[in-house]
Symmetry: C2
Subunit: 212 residues, 2 copies
DNA sequence: CGTGCGATGTATCGGTCCGATACATCGCGG
DNA sequence: CCGCGATGTATCGGACCGATACATCGCACG
């Protein structure tokens, strides 16, 4: 998961660890708290060992400026390699059942802009099926096993069931949008999903802001 | 987390591993998929080593019946000890910040029937604060950083924000219920939470069924 | 003027938990 | 009678987290 996210992010621009974590947190904030350095740094090393990323020189262009004044501490900037991009594409293409659990789905979804439509559909439908199964399980428990459980546990299941139903509806919209609407990168929704005065979506294109 | 859940479940009745996993899955189905044996068995061993649980004899009372015919394979039944119950109470009393993350909160909530009201309130409020913070983070990203993110990522954040708002409302109800309504074990809700044609809620009372 | 503190930055260690896998028994339907 | 799905125990490698350590930078406050 982390591997996938790092490769995805580094395709937008080279970054060092700290920055990577911040971007990761911003992009995945909806689905997980924050990446721990205890997983980030080891993973970076692993990716580097595999040849999917490399360390990039820190000083961008004006390299002669203040050459070794303060001795240039830390700040290891990583950039993705051609093999890394291949790897990323391969990870998308695989997109197996592990892609449908909460975290896995969220991370893949966050990189849908780099995923072809067929794969997007496959992932969305796989996720929907999985949530539907969870929903059925919860309905079973609430129906058949209700008397065995205390009121708090039941309330928890009800809340969970509600979340499932909501997510299925959300996925339905995304799928419909994806399928017919040919919404290449903009699911738009908003009309049915829940009002939001939006922010004038820039014509779908990339629009990444590089730090100066 | 697993330790807590196991101690909580074993207080209802002794069980062996397989059964424990099933009960755990039923009780926590709303918040996590299924406990892996790869964590369950090592944890059971750890708890046993700490003296919080012990192995119980398999054959209930009529022990002389078919003494060693088929040699009595497998089926290790665990039961909680007095120290184990103490440990469980201590884990509830601590209920620190780690209790407020998704899984931690869910597991603690599932055992609210064994938690005193003051602690329940503390946990619910801690959780609410945490979700409110996440919500603010998402609003920030959707507001300030929106142009840096692609449409899919934004949609993910919107969905996450929606879930946060919903959970805060849910928690508000639970807190109000807990605080004034003196709802000792029955949060009831359902009136304001969202329509549900329901299943004829049994009058709030306890209705705990111990396995005979 | 200095000093301390919050943000930036890299890194490791122990521990929890997962996913895959292996293996054995039981009851039942074909 | 045989296979297959449910029951049941168990291990191993790996992913990820939380705490911790440590060093630098800029700036606000005394």
């Amino acid at each position: 998961m982390l591997e996938f996210a790092i490769l995805g992010l580094l395709q937008e621009s080279p970054m060092h660890g700290y920055e990577l974590r911040k971007e990761l947190t911003a992009k995945l904030g909806a689905i997980r708290a924050a990446i721990s350095y205890g997983s980030l740094y080891p993973t970076l090393r692993r990716l580097q060992a595999a040849g999917w990323i490399t360390e990039a020189a820190e000083t961008p262009a004006t390299a002669e400026e203040v050459p070794a004044l303060t001795s240039r501490r830390g700040r290891v900037v990583y950039k993705i390699t051609a093999e890394g991009k291949e790897r990323f594409a391969q990870l998308i293409a695989q997109a197996g059942p592990e892609t449908y659990d909460d975290t896995g789905f969220g991370v893949h979804f966050a990189f849908f802009a780099r995923t072809d439509q067929a794969t997007r559909l496959r992932i969305l439908e796989g996720r929907r099926r999985k949530i539907e199964e969870r929903r059925e399980g919860l309905r079973d428990v609430l129906g058949r096993a209700a008397e065995r459980l205390d009121a708090y546990t039941l309330e928890l299941q009800r809340h969970g069931l509600d979340a499932c139903e909501r997510e299925v509806r959300w996925l339905e919209e995304l799928i419909a949008n994806e399928r017919s609407g040919r919404a290449p990168t903009a699911p738009h929704l908003g009309s049915a999903g829940g009002r939001r005065e939006d922010n004038s979506p820039p014509p779908p294109g990339e629009t990444r802001k590089e730090r100066p």
